[in-house]
Amino acid sequence: MDIHEERKDGFLVLGLEGRLDAVSSKMFEEKVLAVIDGGETQFVIDLSRLDYVSSAGLRVFLVASKRLTPAGGKVVLCSLQEPVKQVFDIVGFFSIFSILGSKDEALKSLG
């Protein structure tokens, strides 16, 4: 899996591409924690190019979120593909995460 970084409207946007499974979730976890420790309190994770997610990957989102919320931070997910949406739905992440349709929407919801 590849992780792309870009800054838009003053916020960090992380784009995930490929499969987020047990193997790639480790790398994803390291990245997200580094970003949070680096001072980013509000950022977007763009899943438009993520084909697949497994529970290991889901774990990372939980970890990230739990790290951010006490500090008043926020992470917004956007552009989920159908299969990924289904999994998120099954595990009930829609009630915990801010999941929006497009990157622009996500960015607008921040700040």
Binding site: R19, D21, A22, V23, Y52, V53, S54, S55, A56, L58, R59, L62, V63, S65, K66, T69, E82, P83, Q86, V87, I90, V91, G92, S95, I96
Partner: protein
């Protein structure tokens, strides 16, 4: 600069040499002169003293001092005589030539002389008179001292000045000789170093010269061999010879290189032509999901004569072939081009493989002056039924991969094409079942050599193909190529590596049943491989995307759990996955030999929990439950067996 350093060296040598000679001679001659002059002086002084003494006896006795003075005055005119003083019998100075007065040192000396025992000989003393100089005092008693004493003072400084002037003259001469030597050395060294300098300059220019061009006029050192009849001339001669040879070599090299470049560029063009003659677009027929076809041609360094081809004869019949022209190089490539073109035209006329080959052979024999030949395997697939009719013309028989079994096809007995017109070709028929594959290849695969000359060999290929059960055509080809490359190591590729794989999937409209067995190692990376196999399976059976995805997700979760948690040791374990499709129902069995674990016993998480209180784990099984219709677990023979069942939806 050679001249400066050579000359400087010589100069230094001369200087040192002359320095040694000069100092040596001056010291030697100075010393000699000193000794001789001193001796002369002494004898002179003694002679004068004697003369005065003898002539003064009477005068002294008569006290005729002014005559003694006249006598004495004459002697002072002799060179080297500084003073004369005559003492009478009482020791009083009666005659002297001192101005302004007799020095105390002299009086002192006389007193001493008087006290000494009188002998007939002269007493010679070194006397140093302050303010006047150094003298050699010769004292002689007159009439045994009774009449008195005479002292003759010889001027030492005269000796010194004589020595200095002699040494100086010598040194002047030395200096003149030195200068002449320097001049001579300069001339001589110049004679040597001038040509050397020219040579050096010439050599320097050599580096910047373009030897490919003919010499632009006579060399500037051409005259040297005639001019210098010594080692320098020889050197110059060698230089000139070398230069000529060099020029020649460079010219030849240039020509050779040019020729080589020409050939290389032509070869490149030939290779490009060769590559353009084989279809390279994959997947070639995306709208025909009934089969999976992939091929590759990796040309060797030298252009070869391999080819493959595939095309639809009609909507339901796919013709595919592979061939290998004898030999290598441009002739082979050209021949291949001809063959391929003829093949296409022939296949458009007739459709049975044996006919194709016969006709092709006839055509090729006709226009074959060079007696080249080509081995061809040609086949036609009926897509609806999976029937494959094939004919072989001297080529290596392709491998049939069917349900875990790998074996070469039965030969049809035909010979390579282009030899002779009287060859009979036959056709054989096989039926491909779903999932079966055909692996076509040329000997570039099996005969690929490593650095020690060991061939990749057919058994190795068969082994690989056996292992590749379940992989896609692309995977099989790529895998095979990898295997060959691994085997070759650093050895250069001697022949084209050509291979074509055709996998038969479902016939149109039917969903047939299939069961495959996949063995995985307990390594997280294996999950991706399984996913690919799943994709392939799904493609074959035209399962819809959602089904495929769900299966993959479920398998991911299950396998992750097993790999992560099932084993206590660090050993390698095999996990077996058996997907099976039967009448619209997909069953996937996962078997592992790890700890006993029933995932169904894992409690459901509360998905309504707030983020803060949500535990991190346990989601995987939840997902699996949600995606899979039926889940069954049993422990059997020390193994966990989890069975997942899904209803399949058609795409």
């Amino acid at each position: 600069m050679t001249r400066a350093s050579l000359f400087t060296k010589t100069l230094v040598l001369i200087v040192v040499l002359f320095g040694i000679i000069a100092s040596g001679t001056s010291i030697l001659s100075g010393w000699n002169l000193y000794r001789n002059l001193t001796q002369e002086y002494q004898s002179k002084g003694v002679a004068i003293a004697k003369s005065i003494a003898d002539s003064s006896v009477e005068l002294l006795l008569n006290a005729d001092v002014s005559t003694i003075q006249s006598v004495v005055d004459q002697f002072t005119e002799i060179e080297g005589v500084s003073y004369v003083i005559v003492f009478d019998g009482q020791g009083e100075a009666v005659t002297h030539t001192f101005v302004p007065t007799v020095p105390g040192d002299v009086l002192e000396l006389q007193r001493r002389t008087r006290t000494q025992a009188v002998s007939g000989a002269a007493a010679i003393n070194d006397l140093s008179i302050e303010g006047t100089g150094d003298f050699l005092d010769v004292a002689l008693p007159i009439l045994a001292g009774v009449a008195g004493y005479v002292h003759v003072g010889m001027d030492r400084s005269l000796i010194r000045s004589r020595i200095w002037s002699a040494v100086a003259t010598q040194q002047e001469l030395m200096f003149v000789i030195f200068l002449l030597s320097v001049l001579a050395a300069y001339t001589l060294v110049n004679r040597i170093s001038q040509p050397l300098k020219q040579l050096a300059g010439h050599a320097g220019k050599l580096a910047t010269q373009d030897f490919s061009e003919p010499a632009t006029g006579p060399s500037d050192i051409d005259h040297l061999p005639q001019k210098s009849h010594d080692e320098v001339g020889k050197l110059a001669e060698s230089f000139i010879t070398m230069e000529i040879a060099l020029r020649q070599s460079v010219r030849e090299l240039k020509e050779t290189t040019a020729a080589k470049e020409r050939i290389e560029s032509e070869l490149k063009i030939a290779r490009d032509i060769q590559m353009s003659m084989v279809p390279k677009t994959f997947p070639p027929f995306p709208n025909r999901p009934e089969f999976d076809l992939y091929a590759t041609l990796i040309p060797a360094r030298e252009v070869g004569g391999d080819f493959y081809d595939f095309f639809f004869i009609d909507d339901n019949h796919l013709c595919f072939a592979i061939g290998d022209v004898s030999g290598k190089g441009i002739p082979a490539a050209l021949f291949m081009a001809v063959t391929r073109t003829l093949f296409r035209t022939t296949a458009s006329k007739v459709s049975r493989p044996d006919s194709i080959l016969s006709l092709l052979n006839l055509e090729m024999c006709q226009n074959n002056d060079t007696c080249m030949f080509v081995t061809v395997f040609c086949a036609v697939l009926d897509i609806r039924t999976g029937e494959v009719e094939y004919s072989n013309g001297g080529h290596n028989l392709p491998y049939l991969i069917s349900h875990g079994e790998t074996a070469p096809l039965k030969n049809t007995g035909g010979m390579a094409l282009g030899f002779t017109e009287s060859v009979t070709y036959r056709t054989e028929k096989i039926v491909l079942r779903t999932g079966d594959g055909l692996f076509l290849y040329t000997d570039g695969v099996t005969e690929a050599m490593d650095e020690e000359g060991n061939q990749f060999s057919e058994p190795c290929l068969a082994e690989f193909l056996h292992q590749a059960n379940g992989s896609s055509a692309t995977e099989i080809i790529r895998g095979a190529v990898d295997q060959v490359k691994n085997h070759s190591g650093g050895a250069p590729q001697s022949d084209d590596i050509t291979a074509l794989t055709l996998k038969y999937l479902l016939t149109a409209g039917e969903t047939t049943s299939e069961t495959i067995v996949v063995e995985l190692k307990n390594n997280l990376s294996e999950i991706e491989r399984l996913a690919r196999i799943a994709d392939d399976f799904g493609r074959r059976h035209r399962l819809n995307a959602e089904t495929s995805h769900n299966v993959k997700v479920a398998l991911d979760e299950i396998l992750t759990n097993i790999i992560s948690y099932a084993y206590d040791d660090a050993e390698e374990h095999i996990i077996v996955v058996r997907p099976s499709l039967d009448q619209g129902k997909l069953t996937v069995e996962v078997e592992d030999d790890g700890r006993p674990f029933n995932p169904l016993n894992v409690p459901e998480p509360d998905t309504k929990q707030l983020l803060e209180v949500r535990p991190i784990g346990g989601l995987g099984i939840h997902v699996v439950r949600k995606l899979i219709d039926e889940l069954e677990y049993r422990r059997q023979n020390d193994k966990n067996i989890l069975t997942m069942k899904l209803k399949v939806k058609e795409a």
